[in-house]
Symmetry: C2
Subunit: 103 residues, 2 copies
């Protein structure tokens, strides 16, 4: 299994409404992608200093599932309609995880 | 519950041995911190372009659990012994998650 995580830092002009609309679009997208075992998308709670603004965590079975998610029309639309113009910086990694290791 | 995720970009002189030693230290640390419900620490699989080098994902119940983990002597030692000298950039966020939402 693969845990894909991404953190975003927004441009200064990004509004709360932008972030709310993005979150809605991402959660709607995730509901329609069967390859996504789990999906989290939310603004940073800022419980610790010096964080980015937003984060996504997605669990998939394998590379095919990851590509199905990230190359999906819905994900590309989320980039075109939101993330592309909001994004100042993106930090992403894919980590190997064992079944049941996240609970 | 809280999902803490962090992505690291390493300095150019970081070796594979450094990364292996760091991973061992982090997994040993995590085993000794009961507040950590789940913990993943690994190099990026680089299944997609333009990623950071390393990632951590930690699930805790609440802010107290998050602070117990991040302020623990073992975590501070991991910074002193490894991450501090290896780190070029760090991107971290804390996301709210529902019980059972990651599987």
């Amino acid at each position: 299994m693969i845990l894909h995580i991404a953190a975003f830092r927004w441009k200064d002009d990004v509004t709360e409404a932008d972030v709310t609309a993005l979150t809605e679009a991402l959660l709607t997208m995730a509901a329609g992608i069967p390859e996504l075992r789990s999906y989290v998308a939310a603004p940073n709670l800022h419980l610790r200093p010096a964080g980015f603004d937003y984060g996504v965590a997605a669990v998939v079975d394998d590379q095919a599932g990851l590509d199905a998610y990230l190359d999906s029309p819905e994900h590309l639309a989320a980039y075109e309609n939101f993330i592309g113009r909001m994004l100042a910086e993106r930090a992403a990694v894919q980590l190997p995880i064992a079944e049941g290791s996240l609970r």
